[in-house]
């Protein structure tokens, strides 16, 4: 085999591409053999997604409107979660009494499936914008609280002492020691809080909303259009990937450029708290 071809064959990117292509080809070939009309071929799904991207849709909202609505709710809800979670997390990290007082509630909050928050919000507030936003807050706030409080406890005391020995001011130490050491934890709360908030939001939109991406996937489900449901699921994936590439990775590269090398574990792997349900 020529060298170029061998390198192409051995690269991990090639392996990934082959795996995706063979999956799609297998899917396309398998469908006609099945005794059901409810499973679309990849071609049909592609057709649906392309029409959506051209804003040509039977649903009340285009994919752009649906995702814009959901994104607005997510950002509003998570913004409020930060405003509530950061002060509580700071207090929990600083004072043992507060930590003991709130610990069990936070653990329960972390473990609670987002579905429960969505159902409770739907039941109490009904089909209003508030339900979705409150679900996002409930589904994400405990991630903020737990990460911030862990971060406060992990502030390097030896560096604070160093600053004190050199006679630096409190404000100076907060700015150059405390805040930078909190960054990985804030970043972890951003990532896991947003991810869990998003899961909650989609459910809340299904149960208690008349707009947004979650509601639109429900619309296609009610219409028994499988390519709509699968197409939207793929839009969710694309949305998550874009958020990761365009927002998180750039932000992380910028904030953590002091970390020695690229092949180290991701920044938030250190001491962050994650619960997947």
């Amino acid at each position: 085999m020529p060298r170029g071809l061998r390198r192409f064959w051995r690269s991990t990117r090639t392996a990934r591409a082959i795996s995706i292509v063979s999956f799609l080809v297998g899917w396309q070939l398998l469908i006609p053999l099945l005794p059901t009309a409810l499973i679309p071929t990849p071609f049909e799904v592609g057709e649906f997604m392309w029409a959506e991207l051209r804003a040509d849709t039977l649903a009340p909202e285009t994919v752009y409107q649906a995702f814009a609505t959901s994104l607005r709710r997510l950002v509003t809800g998570f913004g409020i979660a930060l405003l509530i979670g950061i002060p509580i997390g700071l207090l929990m990290g600083l004072f043992k009494r507060v930590e003991e007082f709130l610990h069990d509630f936070v653990v329960v909050g972390l473990a609670m499936p987002s579905l429960v928050w969505a159902l409770i919000a739907a039941m109490w507030f009904g089909f209003v914008e508030r339900s979705s936003i409150i679900t996002v807050i409930l589904a994400s706030v405990t991630f903020v609280i737990i990460n911030v409080s862990e971060g406060v406890r992990a502030v390097p005391k030896d560096l604070l002492d160093m600053g004190r020995a050199y006679g630096t001011s409190d404000l100076h130490r907060v700015r150059h020691v405390v805040l930078p050491s909190l960054m990985p934890f804030l970043f972890a709360s951003l990532r896991y809080g947003l991810a869990n908030g998003w899961k909650g939001l989609v459910l809340a939109e299904i149960y208690a909303s008349t707009s947004g991406a979650g509601w639109t996937i429900r619309f296609w489900y009610d219409a028994r259009r499988a390519q709509g449901v699968i197409g939207y699921a793929l839009f969710f994936m694309i949305f998550a990937l874009l958020a990761e590439r365009l927002v998180f990775r750039r932000l992380s590269d910028r904030v953590f450029r002091w970390r020695p090398s690229q092949d180290q574990p991701p920044p938030e792997a250190e001491g962050s708290v994650q619960v997947n349900i």
Partner: protein, 246 residues
């Protein structure tokens, strides 16, 4: 001229179930161009003494102060670990402890980095440097504030023997050049004999046991007969004072 004054110093740490006395009735004075080593076994309160002198901890009773003329002296502190801010560049680590951030200060910081042969690392992050280089940045940081007194807490104990040796030479050189007062905590008697012209020995329970001069010419080679003999004598004193852990 800077002077260090420690008088009837006592420090106890109170935990929920016990009280540990780290320093007991410690007194000594030092001033001018001297290199004082504080030697003793682990847990004899050596580091606590430096932490009190630098203001990290407060004494239970007694006096511990460093003055320059009639005002409080400015202290440089070199720790056992480098204690650099990993998220700031080497230059910003030096600037972190400065009062001003003007061009003149920057220039001075650069000068002290060059003094420890690390001028080229100003824009690197600590994580990109080896342990020995990080420790040298810590030393440059201590000198960059142009301190009246330099406090050092086992600064070479984490380093390999070769790096430690070259840094000891460097430190001696800088001390001769800047003529600062140095208070150097160590558990390594050889290191103390090599560097200092006075040695204060602490024993268990933070009691000051011995205060001796070391009158040997500099530079001192550890392989030199006189230096080796002095080291052996000090170790014998340790045994007589029953300071060697059994």
């Amino acid at each position: 001229m800077a002077s260090i004054k420690v008088q009837s110093l006592r420090k106890e740490f109170v935990t929920s179930d016990s009280t540990v006395v780290a320093l007991e009735n410690a007194s000594f004075e030092a001033s001018g161009h001297v290199f004082v080593s504080i030697v003793g076994p682990s847990g004899c309160g050596k580091s606590t003494l430096l932490n009190i002198l630098s203001g990290i901890e407060t004494p239970t009773s007694g006096i511990a102060e460093i003055t320059e003329g009639d005002k409080k002296a400015r202290n440089g502190y070199v720790f056992q670990a480098a204690r650099l801010l990993p998220w700031r560049t080497v230059m910003d680590n030096l600037l972190f402890v400065q009062k001003d951030r003007d061009a003149e200060t920057r220039e001075r910081c650069q000068r002290y980095l060059e003094m420890v042969d690390l001028g080229h690392t100003a824009n690197k992050y600590p994580g990109q440097l080896s342990g020995g280089m990080q420790q040298r940045v810590g030393i440059a940081r201590a000198f960059s504030i142009e301190p009246d007194v330099l406090l050092m807490d086992e600064p070479f104990s984490h380093l390999d023997a070769i790096t430690g040796r070259s840094l000891r030479k460097e430190l001696h050189h800088i001390w001769m050049e800047t003529r600062k007062t140095v208070l150097f905590v160590t558990h390594d008697v050889g290191e103390a004999v090599e560097l200092s012209n006075r040695m204060v020995i602490f024993g268990q329970g933070g009691r000051l046991r011995e205060d001796m001069k070391i009158d040997l010419p500099f530079p001192r080679d550890p392989a030199d007969d006189a230096v080796a003999l002095t080291k052996a004598n000090v170790l014998r004193t340790f045994e007589e004072l029953d300071l060697v852990a059994s």
